[in-house]
């Protein structure tokens, strides 16, 4: 994962021709940790880290009336003024694009950035909205009955990208109960089907 993040950091700097007015905004959760790491990697090259922020998009979700029990809301922290800044949204997985849609709406309530970009560790396809990422760590093609989870050392004890059947709670440990997904015990066959990839 480290090498992928390093390449993403380089691409972000290249795309913005430096780090002037650059703000990395991680989406809760895991996007925040990835944004922190990318910022550190940028600092190693450029001698200075870009500003960082955190965004929790729960209150902007378009499915809040239907997700059942209320998702836990995490902290949002946008540092200073983002008017005219060049914001890069950082998230772990890009799928339907609805999270990014919510993040764009939320950012608009904080100011009017000159540009908003998107960097994701995993792009798994399956978009439901016209949204694309500027910087992608790794593209994977997955069936709709599969789910990809990104684990980060800060929260999960290790870095990993795991593909699991959608009905499996296998990698839910440590995850915030952010969404209601059907909880069925995973069969041993489906556990075997859960492959790990190195991103």
């Amino acid at each position: 994962m480290d090498r992928t993040l390093r390449r993403m950091a380089d691409e972000i700097v290249e795309l913005h021709d430096g780090i002037t007015d650059l703000v990395l905004v991680g989406i809760q959760r895991r996007g925040v940790q990835l944004a922190d790491r990318i910022a550190q990697l940028i600092a190693e090259r450029e001698g200075e880290a870009p500003r960082r922020g955190a965004l929790d998009i729960t209150l902007y979700r378009d499915d809040l009336q239907t997700v059942g029990p209320r998702p836990v809301v995490g902290p949002t922290d946008i540092p200073g003024d983002i008017d005219g800044a060049r914001v890069v949204i950082v998230d772990d997985v890009l799928y339907t694009g609805r999270t990014v849609r919510a993040a764009l709406d939320e950012l608009a309530d904080f100011g009017r950035p000159a540009r908003i970009g998107l960097a994701v560790l995993i792009d798994r396809g399956g978009r439901e909205l016209p949204i694309h990422a500027d910087v992608v760590g790794k593209r994977v093609e997955l069936r709709t009955d599969q789910r990809v989870d990104v684990l980060v050392a800060e929260l999960d004890g290790r870095d990993a990208v795991v593909v699991v059947p959608k009905t499996s709670p296998a990698s839910d440990a440590g995850r915030a109960a952010a969404t209601s997904r059907p909880k069925k015990p995973a069969s041993s066959a489906s556990r075997r089907a859960a492959g790990e990839e190195s991103a």
Binding site: L59, T66, V67, G68, V73, T76, V148, A178, S180, R181
Partner: protein, 322 residues
């Protein structure tokens, strides 16, 4: 699946420590929304909330209204005077008529203890008790808990004394239940005429002298002397009350530790609390007001999830990456 709080928020007495903890934790991220330039999130867009106030209120009503508006709900305020209530309509008829206009929630303040529960059992909308008689005022209790937790970090083992007119105070009851559930030690202090006869059954320590209460407590929640509810002679005079039970700077300076000062407002300055205490360095009275909006946003957010028919359809909706 229903909301983690059930359909309504009527009192703190029936809640579990986990439920109270969930509300307090949920309030944390809502504090930040009120600090934004655009103090609004779209969470309750399309929800209609009626604020039904049968008793005068400024702070609580405005606080609820801000909380509702900052969550993008549509709100209507109904005050008892000038409405059909003054023409003799019953509480249930008023609420049913409002419900026929397709509302989602009712926030109610009423002079009769138990009014919120009475209403909640008869309408489908979520009901939030904004104070019912001398029973409970749960959101005030919650914002007091949040303010204490902000300052002390943990409520377990915290020594809090409620000073003043406990007899008429729904705030006192919500505080006693809430604090005890969260593991704090609770005492009350006031003239015996303003303490309930059965105060011992609450499991609280009783101080007859405010000086002793200050020695013991890490925080004082100073209650308003509810002059409008006092029909008989509970105290000789306001001046006498201040002389014996007033929270004054002289008294606070005589003890050797700091005591945090809370007051649910509105204050009778110079009666239960002196101005230089209310405005002093240990007062968190305005923090309570700020926290009130965050607590009410959290409660609205958590209750609005409690729509069983929607939760049913949600079971088939996949979550995970979005």
């Amino acid at each position: 699946m229903t909301s983690p709080l059930g359909k309504d928020l009527l009192a703190l007495e029936p809640l579990t420590p986990e439920q109270i903890g969930l509300i307090l934790d949920t309030a944390e991220p809502f504090k930040e929304i009120s600090e934004r330039a655009i103090k609004k999130v779209p969470t309750l867009r399309g929800s209609t909330i009626v604020n039904l106030f049968f008793e005068p209120s400024t702070r609580t009503r405005v606080s609820f209204e801000f909380a509702e508006k900052r969550l993008s709900a549509d709100t209507v305020n109904v005050a008892a005077s000038g409405s059909s209530v003054s023409k003799g309509e019953t509480l249930v008829d008023t609420a049913r008529n409002l419900e026929a206009m397709r509302i989602d929630m009712v926030v109610m303040r009423h002079g009769a203890s138990g009014a919120a529960q009475f209403l909640a059992e008869r309408i489908e909308s979520n009901v939030i008790n904004a104070g019912d008689g001398t029973h409970e005022h749960p959101t005030q209790g919650l914002l007091d808990l949040l303010t204490l937790r902000d300052h002390f970090g943990d409520l377990r083992g915290l020594r809090v004394c409620i000073v003043g007119d406990v007899l008429h105070s729904r705030v006192a009851r919500s505080n006693i239940w809430g604090l005890q559930k969260m593991g704090a030690e609770v005492a009350v202090c006031g003239p015996r005429s303003l303490l309930p006869n059965a105060i011992a059954e609450f499991g609280v320590t009783v101080f007859d002298r405010v000086e002793a209460a200050m020695e013991w407590a890490q925080a004082l929640n100073v209650l308003r002397l509810q002059l409008e509810r006092m029909t008989a002679g509970y105290i000789p005079s306001l001046r006498e009350y201040n002389r014996v039970f007033g929270v004054t700077r002289e008294r606070l300076e005589r003890i050797d530790h700091d005591v945090l000062i809370l007051h649910p407002g509105p204050m009778n300055r110079g009666v239960e609390i002196d101005s230089d205490v209310a405005d002093g360095p240990h007062s968190v009275i305005l923090n309570q007001v700020t926290n009130g909006v965050a607590i009410r946003m959290a409660v609205l957010y958590l209750l609005a999830g409690g729509r069983p028919e929607l939760a049913e359809t949600a079971k088939s909706t996949p979550g995970g990456e979005r």
